[in-house]
């Protein structure tokens, strides 16, 4: 039996909007052209709630909540932006920039990078924390793709795309905290992976230049993600 979803009305940034009860604040905001910055969220993949960029304020809730995983409720009053939220987002972005190596001028994804776009859009002018610059490996063993861990933001999109859409579960995350890293199979080189179908979905869902196609020079790597909402729609209809 299909679950019947109820229609709920709520207020986002002073605007009265409506949505279905199984929709998240982020989805409803998108439908109504209200911008909430996101990084780990991607339409067509499961919600992750890891990047904390989409944090919003909901009246009556003691804490800031991520818009991607919080379902709407009747009469909810959501504030998507305030000075406090903006500053938190800037700090989180700054932390991401210090975490690894994000030198845009030398990156194949320059100009097509979601991290870069977010920084520009939110007006991140400088980074107040010291850069960590860990020494991370680059895996170029695959015939067509490269994994450059120096550019990775650990958003987990590749892991989810590989598991949920392709069904291969080649990618996963190992380690803890700051030393976490995306791995192929049981930390093997990508080229020798027996489970990888070389579909390239992980490459195209990656927001930065961490997963790229071979043969691209600086600023040449454009990601094509149109397939995701399409696949999702087709699967839902089936």
């Amino acid at each position: 039996m299909k679950k019947v979803s109820q229609i709920q009305t709520l207020i986002i940034d002073g605007k009265e909007v409506g949505g279905k009860s199984d929709e998240s604040i982020l989805q409803v905001a998108k439908e109504n052209d209200i911008f909430i910055p996101t990084l780990c969220y991607l339409e067509g993949l499961s919600d992750y709630g890891g990047c904390r960029m989409c944090i919003v304020e909901v009246k009556g809730m003691p804490r800031l909540v991520p818009a991607c995983t919080t379902l709407i409720r009747e009469g909810m009053e959501v504030t998507t932006n305030s000075e406090k939220i903006h500053n938190y987002r800037l700090s989180i972005l700054a932390l991401l920039f210090t975490e690894r190596n994000h030198i845009c001028s030398a990156c194949v994804s320059n100009g097509h990078c979601e991290l870069q776009t977010l920084a520009l859009k939110l007006g991140l002018t400088h980074v107040e924390f010291p850069y960590i610059f860990p020494k991370m490996p680059v895996d170029a063993t695959h015939d067509r793709f490269i994994a450059d861990h120096n550019r990775c933001v650990l958003c987990g999109r590749c892991v989810r795309a590989c598991h949920e859409v392709e069904g291969a579960h080649t990618k996963d995350i190992m380690g803890r905290g700051i030393t976490s890293r995306v791995i192929t199979d049981l930390k093997e080189s990508w080229g020798s992976s027996k489970t990888c179908t070389s579909c390239g979905k992980c490459v195209h869902v990656c927001p930065t230049g961490a997963l790229t196609e071979k043969g691209k020079s600086v600023a040449e790597m454009e990601k094509r993600r149109q397939f995701l909402p399409y696949l999702k729609l087709m699967r839902e209809r089936r």
């Binding site: 890891g50 904390r52 995983t69 938190y88 975490e99 933001v153 905290g177 976490s180």
Partner: protein, 551 residues
């Protein structure tokens, strides 16, 4: 199994006990075992045999006797007079004289004074069977009234009655959050779903905390019984105990306890000839601190990476494999049989207005009586540290007591008269936590302490959300800079900013509370931070300052 059979077991066991005039109880919990209590127990048994006194004296292993710093501990009980002498730091050489002294005066130099406030000022509910029963024998647990509450619940009470009792008792979660247990049970009972689960969180990971380990090692059946009662109340027939693999003894005893309970039919199918079934399985944690967080724990039991997920939905509604799941901590479950046996009014009469019952604390650090204690909620910290805990070793001065582990904070001497209950500790910027108490004297540098906890959280962060993953690393970096004499005032501001960020934007409880040790030490010991950055000196002389600063 029916009530008569249960009574029969208790009767036989009690008769067996009454044959012996004396019982030499050797602590076989992890603390005393590590200083050789097993050899001691064998030696006592041999000595009894050698003297041919096995008709009226026996030696057995029992659970934790509390005063872990003076182990191995041996308690000599005399049944007819119901008297007890506790010997501390017993060695193999002392076996002779202790057995000699059975009928005469106790060996004075080894005996702990009964008047010692460590023993006198405690009130034991969770720890009531500690030092009295053999944790590896279900019969001994039944002999002291064990599994009777489960019988009462199954035969005489409806699930709603049980929950009503728990609600009325005012019991709150002992794992740290202090969420009302009755409310949690009600939510799970009302949640719709054919399959429900009970999970016992035994992934105790706070540095300096060992309450849950001791409970599992010393009285495992108590926890099983509490879980079965919870299962009946909320309508679950399967339970999991998630215990960390670093507790091999607890795991061994739990396994044994589960097997025994299944053999006797107090766990399994048709318990006490009712239609109620309840199975308990063990799941071992692989050493991740974050798996103590309930959603990460569930994910780990499911076989996935132990990452937390955003709540809501709460596990009570959407938990293990998507089913409604009740998660309580070891100590919470251990309170349940006592509440059913003695009634909710009795339990509610202990403690303070909002925090009922007792709390087990693990005393550690610079304190004379390191060990496990249980006191009514609302006992002042001064009473705990200076009276029961025996104060600070001579020659040094009390500085602070750290409660709540990496999520808690420090409390200074000015606030020692604060009652230990959920609200009072939270008001001071600390938390009750699971019950670890680390006492520090003036040889501890508070910046260094903060650095220790931040490092702990940095390495234990799961890495899923950015503020916790990167923020903890940056905080650790700043604190390392300060403790090596290279910090400046801006670093302190940065620490404050990061603390606020991490607290407000992290995904799970580990991240949210991670900055607490820093915030709390910065609040109470600002001068120490300033001494580190301005004068480049460490007042406690702990930090190795690169540049020898102004004196």
């Amino acid at each position: 199994m029916n009530f008569e059979e249960l009574h029969e077991i208790a009767k036989i066991e009690n008769e067996k006990r009454a044959q012996f005039e004396y019982s030499i109880n050797v602590c076989v919990a992890a603390g005393c075992m590590s200083c050789g209590s097993l050899e001691l127990l064998t030696s006592f048994k041999k000595e009894i045999e050698r003297r041919g006194i096995e008709n009226w004296c026996k030696a057995k292993g029992v659970g934790c006797l509390g005063l872990c710093s003076a182990g191995p501990l041996v308690s000599v009980q005399r049944y007819d007079q119901k008297s007890e002498v506790i010997y501390k730091s017993v060695t193999l050489d002392n076996v002779h004289e202790i057995v000699d002294a059975l009928t005469g005066e106790p060996v004075g130099r080894l005996a702990c004074s009964k008047e010692m406030s460590f023993f006198k000022n405690q009130q034991k509910i969770v720890l009531e069977n500690f030092g009295n029963i053999d944790p590896e024998k279900i019969e001994e647990y039944i002999a002291v009234g064990g599994y009777e509450p489960l019988y009462t619940v199954l035969r005489e009470m409806s699930p709603a009655n049980v929950i009503e009792q728990i609600v009325k008792s005012g019991l709150r979660g002992r794992g740290g959050g202090g969420y009302p247990t009755g409310l949690k049970w009600t939510t799970v009972m009302k949640a719709s779903g054919n399959q429900k689960y009970i999970i016992c969180n035994a992934d105790e990971g706070d540095p300096g905390a060992f309450m849950d380990r001791s409970v599992l090692e010393s009285d495992p059946h108590r926890v099983l019984e509490g879980m079965a009662i919870a299962g009946y109340a909320v309508g679950a027939d399967k339970g999991f105990i998630y215990v960390r693999a670093e507790y091999p003894l607890a795991i061994r005893r739990l396994k044994k306890a589960i097997t025994q309970a299944e053999q006797l039919g107090v766990l399994g199918r048709g318990i006490f000839n009712t239609p109620f079934n309840f199975d308990i399985k063990l799941r071992l944690g692989a050493g991740a601190f974050v798996c103590g967080e309930e959603t990460a724990l569930i994910s780990s039991i499911e076989g996935s990476r132990g990452n937390p997920r955003p709540r809501p939905p709460y596990p009570a509604e959407y938990g293990l494999w998507g089913s409604p799941t009740l998660i309580n901590n070891v100590e919470t479950f251990a309170n349940i049989p006592a509440i059913i046996r003695n009634g909710s009014a009795w339990f509610a009469s202990i403690g303070t207005e909002k925090s009922k019952g007792t709390k087990v604390f693990a005393l550690a650090g610079r304190i004379n009586n390191t060990g496990l204690i249980e006191v009514p909620m609302g006992t002042t910290l001064r009473e705990i540290v200076f009276n029961i805990g025996g104060g600070i070793p001579e020659g040094s001065k009390f500085k602070a007591v750290q409660t709540g582990g990496p999520s808690g904070g420090c409390i200074t001497s000015d606030y020692l008269d604060t009652p230990a209950d959920y609200e009072s500790l939270t008001k001071l910027g600390s938390i009750m936590g699971s019950g670890g108490m680390i006492v520090m004297d003036d040889t501890s540098c508070m910046v260094d302490v903060a650095k220790f906890f931040v490092e702990f959280c940095m390495t234990e962060s799961c890495g899923k959300c950015v503020p916790c993953r990167d923020g903890s690393a940056q905080m650790y970096h700043l604190l390392s800079k300060i403790t090596s004499g290279e910090g400046n005032i801006n670093d302190i501001h940065m620490l404050e900013k990061l603390s606020d960020l991490i607290n407000n934007t992290s995904l799970c409880g580990l991240g949210m509370t991670m900055p607490n040790p820093v915030v709390s030490t910065m609040h109470f010991f600002k001068d120490e931070y300033l001494a580190h950055v301005h004068d480049k000196i460490c007042p406690a002389g702990v930090c190795n300052m690169k540049r020898g600063g102004r004196k």
